[in-house]
């Protein structure tokens, strides 16, 4: 509705309004031109009057008439013989009269009164008189000036009086008529001027009205636009809110999906403990693989959603690049060899030993590119070339180029390559599986690192994927010794720990974990329960799950912080949660929690957290990590390392070792469960840590086979596809009975010792 209104308001015919304005403007210009013309005409009229001096003719003729009368008087006096003849006065008067009547012949006079009847006749009459009079009065007199001559001419002079008066009147009338005419013209002009002024005023009004209307319309349109912008802002906010909600939903869903998976995986592993036919074992394996695959997809989607919402932060740190490449090679070689394909990983000599990068993400990208190449190549070779070069912006780049001799792609496929859920070849995707998110995730990560991934390929000629990122070198060369991950060693601390956790499996896990760390665990099944438990007895620390019925972790924390007893209200609280979003952490800290542990909680993490809260107490016992022994007995029978057992027996009694091995093997199913949990929860770091811990202990106790599998797990945790990792976990599990057998064979264990039942 609103949009339709907006559209209508926004699209009036702009050309029409323009033409209106143009029309009015044109009229205005025209009117102004007319005014100018009228004024020019008025000016011309006035100028004509001034130049011709018509007005001046009337007094001129009048003067001539006056002089005529004066001359007549003088003449009469001269003829009168009673007075003496004043010759000079008569001459002067005559001369003046002549000068005056001469003017009647002038150009302007002629123009004005030429049409007057009798004008010519009068002029002729004057002419004749002057001619006669000049004989005595002129400049060259021919006769003497005497009374007889003057008396003879007097009648002629008197005869001029009447026609000259006529002429004077005629001129007067003529000029009056002319003035009237001119006045009429001026009146007309004035009228025209007034008309034009009125017209001009009207046009100006019209112009102003149009302009006003346009301004109003503009204002209206601006209002509409502002409304539209406001609507868009609201829409954007809503969209963002929806996206936020989606992210939260995804996080929740991953949690919700993972919880039943705990059950599913647990059941599957329990099922494996029962007596099964080979066919059932096969089914079970397929079921486990499918579950792993499903988890891998879930992890990809979670990865993508986190990348999309910008929640992924890179952990930049100095990385031993060559070691990293060796790791990658070690992990990829089995996959390549299985096809079989040649795998070359080659680093240019100029590539520095150590760079600053997010090692996990870097390996994720390289691994994705390599496994894609292996996936789509059936014969030939896959090559990873690492080199440095000058980048576009003048800074150095490091380039990882993965080239294969596989099926290649046409341009259409290339164009679709980095698009979501699109795989190189639909028929192949069914065969190879995967979410199709791998490349998009890799490219997003590459761009996050300030680089990019480009692909070029031709059908049948293989493909080449180039991943580049800015090369950053560590400022200070880090010491060569890598930090060892401390194994879950018992702590000198003995803490009373309250665990608020609704899930029984997690409760058991936490119980084992805390026990391992030497602490005493107590449990509450929801937030409310926890708040009550806290008031009944004293605890050193509370581990608070966030997702709980009745009262969730955040609410429970707020309730505890609001308790009146200060010693109760200040108990340290550590959050336990499966979602690792930064907001969740913030929310927890805001609610008053002291720390934050993401699930699954490893002994190391828990120990580290508790150490942060309570101090070391006693230095953590770091178990020795022995290098793999070479003197493994017999023809590749690598399950147990006798020399390691011998070394161990030097440090402890056979009974003690036996109990440790027994404990280790008893705990092994739990370890397997933990490893599975780590795979399920897509926590490669947790997987690594657990695998590393298992490896350390296994090596110490001489269980080389388990140690090797744990090491493979440790190395492949982050990069191997989920089903590969699951296979390794499976292998670890499968090795357990054989290892027990081998230990019995070596006399470390007694056959009578039965495996302890684990929860």
């Amino acid at each position: 509705m609103a949009a339709a209104d907006d559209r209508r308001a926004l699209t009036p015919a702009p050309r029409l309004r323009f033409s209106w304005l143009g029309l009015v403007g044109f009229g205005l210009a025209l009117a102004l031109l007319a005014v100018a013309l009228v004024q020019a005409r008025q000016f011309a009229l006035l100028r004509q009057a001034v130049q011709t001096g018509d007005d001046y003719v009337v007094p001129m003729v009048y003067q001539a008439e006056t002089e005529q009368l004066l001359l007549r008087e003088q003449w009469r006096r001269a003829v009168d013989d009673r007075v003496p003849l004043d010759e000079a006065a008569l001459r002067l008067r005559y001369e003046i009269w002549v000068s005056r009547v001469e003017l009647l012949r002038g150009a302007s006079t002629l123009r004005l009164i030429a049409s007057h009847s009798g004008y010519q006749q009068t002029l002729q009459q004057i002419e004749d008189f002057i001619q006669t009079a000049d004989r005595a009065l002129g400049p060259t007199p021919v006769v003497a000036l005497e009374r007889g001559f003057l008396g003879a001419l007097l009648p002629d002079l008197e005869a001029l009086t009447s026609p000259m008066h006529e002429l004077s009147l005629g001129a007067s009338h003529k000029v009056a008529a002319q003035m009237e005419e001119r006045a009429a013209a001026v009146r007309q002009q004035n009228l025209l001027g007034v008309g034009l002024t009125v017209f001009l005023s009207l046009l100006t009004l019209a112009f102003a009205f149009t302009a006003l209307r346009q301004v109003r319309q503009l204002r209206e349109r601006r209002v509409v636009l502002e409304e539209l912008a406001a609507n868009l802002r609201i829409a954007r906010r809503e969209a963002e809110a929806a996206s936020e909600a989606k992210s939260a939903f995804l996080a929740n869903m991953s949690h919700e999906i993972r919880t039943p998976f705990h059950g599913l995986m647990g059941m599957l592993s329990l099922l494996r403990e029962t007596a099964l036919t080979p066919r059932q074992i096969d089914y079970l394996r397929t079921a486990t693989e499918s579950a792993d695959h499903l988890l891998a997809i879930l992890n990809d989607i979670l990865d993508m959603s986190q990348l999309e919402s910008g929640r992924v932060a890179l952990a930049m740190a100095p990385v031993d690049l060559r070691a990293l490449l060796r790791e990658v090679e070690a992990l990829m070689r089995p996959q390549a060899a299985a096809k079989p394909l040649a795998l070359h990983i080659d680093a240019d000599a100029a590539v520095p030993e150590r760079i600053v990068a997010d090692a996990t993400r870097l390996k994720q990208i390289i691994f994705n590119l390599l496994s894609n190449a292996i996936k789509f190549t059936d014969r030939g070779a896959v090559v990873l070339d690492v080199r440095t070069r000058e980048g576009g912006a003048g800074e150095r780049e490091i380039v990882f180029e993965v080239t294969d001799t596989g099926v290649g792609m046409d341009e259409a496929t290339l164009a679709q390559l980095f698009k979501r859920f699109v795989q190189g070849d639909n028929s192949r995707s069914r065969r190879h599986g995967g979410t199709g998110l791998g490349l998009e995730i890799s490219r997003s990560l590459a761009r996050l690192m300030g680089g990019d991934i480009l692909a070029r390929s031709r059908p049948g000629e293989g493909s080449c994927f180039t991943f580049r990122m800015p090369l950053r070198l560590p400022e200070v060369p880090a010491p060569g010794a890598a930090t060892k991950v401390p194994a879950g060693a018992p702590q000198a601390l003995h803490l009373q720990v309250l665990v608020a956790e609704d899930h029984p499996v997690n409760r058991q896990y936490m119980a084992a974990l805390l026990e391992t760390l030497g602490h005493e665990a107590h449990f509450s099944v929801n937030g409310e329960d926890a708040v009550q438990a806290l008031q009944k007895r004293r605890y050193d620390v509370v581990l608070m799950d966030l997702h709980m019925p009745v009262l969730d972790g955040v609410q429970a924390t707020q309730a505890i912080r609001a308790l009146p007893d200060a010693s109760l209200a200040t108990v340290p609280i550590v959050a336990l949660t499966a979602d690792a979003f930064a907001e969740t952490r913030e929310r927890c800290l805001l609610a008053g929690m002291n720390d934050f542990l993401s699930k699954p909680v490893s002994p190391q993490k828990l120990a580290a957290t508790l150490r942060r809260l309570f101090g070391t107490g006693a230095p953590a016992a770091v178990p020795d990590v022995l290098p793999p022994r070479q003197g493994v007995r017999g023809n590749g029978h690598a399950l147990v390392d006798e020399s390691a057992i011998a070394t161990a027996l030097q440090a402890m009694s056979r009974e003690k070792l036996a109990s440790l091995v027994q404990a280790f093997l008893d705990q092994a199913p739990e370890t397997v469960q933990r490893l599975r949990a780590a795979v399920r929860d897509a926590q490669p770091l947790e997987l690594r840590t657990n695998a590393h811990a298992a490896k350390g202990a296994a090596l110490n106790l001489g269980m080389a086979g388990l140690a090797a599998t744990a090491e493979a797990l440790h190395e492949g945790a982050a990069y191997l596809p989920a089903h590969e990792v699951a296979r390794l976990v499976q292998r670890y599990e499968n090795q357990l009975p054989a290892t027990r057998e081998a230990m019995i064979e070596l006399g470390v264990l007694q056959r009578t010792m039965q495996p302890a039942v684990t929860g």
């Binding site: 001034v50 130049q51 001096g53 007005d55 001046y56 003067q63 006056t66 002089e67 004066l70 002067l92 001369e95 003046i96 002549v98 000068s99 005056r100 001469e102 003017l103 002038g106 150009a107 302007s108 400049p139």
Partner: protein, 161 residues
């Protein structure tokens, strides 16, 4: 400005006594005259007028169909010669035609007292012998009834008021 400086210049002229006319008097300057040569008036014959600095120009007039050339002294020189100083000039012609001219007019404009028309002396019938002429062609604003009326011909007397 121009008028002012001309005034100062005129006033600064040495007060030289005006000689008495030897020929027929053609022009009388009366009224506020400081250098009279006959009673209270200053009389000029044609020789005295011709002896003053002469100015010539051609101009159209309402009285002739074509432009004519007029020659004679500047009116302000004539007034200066008589030591005249006033606010108004009254011109009188032979036929008793009278017209008033502001004292400023001859100072602002190069008004001449023409004695020659096309280099010939003017008879009375030719509107002579003296003709007050404004430079109509040089100054368009002079082309109007006011200035035409101030152009007295057959000039006889200048009364300085």
């Amino acid at each position: 400005m121009q008028a002012g400086s001309a005034l100062v210049l005129a006033a600064a002229l040495p007060a030289r006594a005006l000689e008495r006319p030897r020929g027929t008097v053609v022009l009388t300057v009366s009224g506020r005259v400081r250098m009279p040569n006959d009673g209270a008036d200053a009389h000029f014959d044609m020789a005295m007028i011709a002896a003053l600095p002469q100015t010539s120009f051609s101009t159209h007039t309402p009285w002739y169909a074509k432009a004519r050339r007029f020659t004679g002294p500047l009116l302000r020189d004539v007034l200066g010669a008589a030591g005249a100083q006033g606010t108004l000039i009254r011109l009188t012609a032979l036929n008793d035609y009278k017209v008033d001219m502001p004292y400023d007019d001859p100072q602002r404009h190069d008004v001449i007292v023409a004695r020659l028309l096309d280099d010939q002396p003017m008879a009375v019938r030719d509107k002579g012998p003296l003709f007050v002429i404004y430079p109509f062609d040089a100054r368009p604003e002079l082309r109007g009834a006011v200035y035409y009326s101030r152009s007295a011909w057959q000039l006889r007397t200048i009364d300085v008021l």
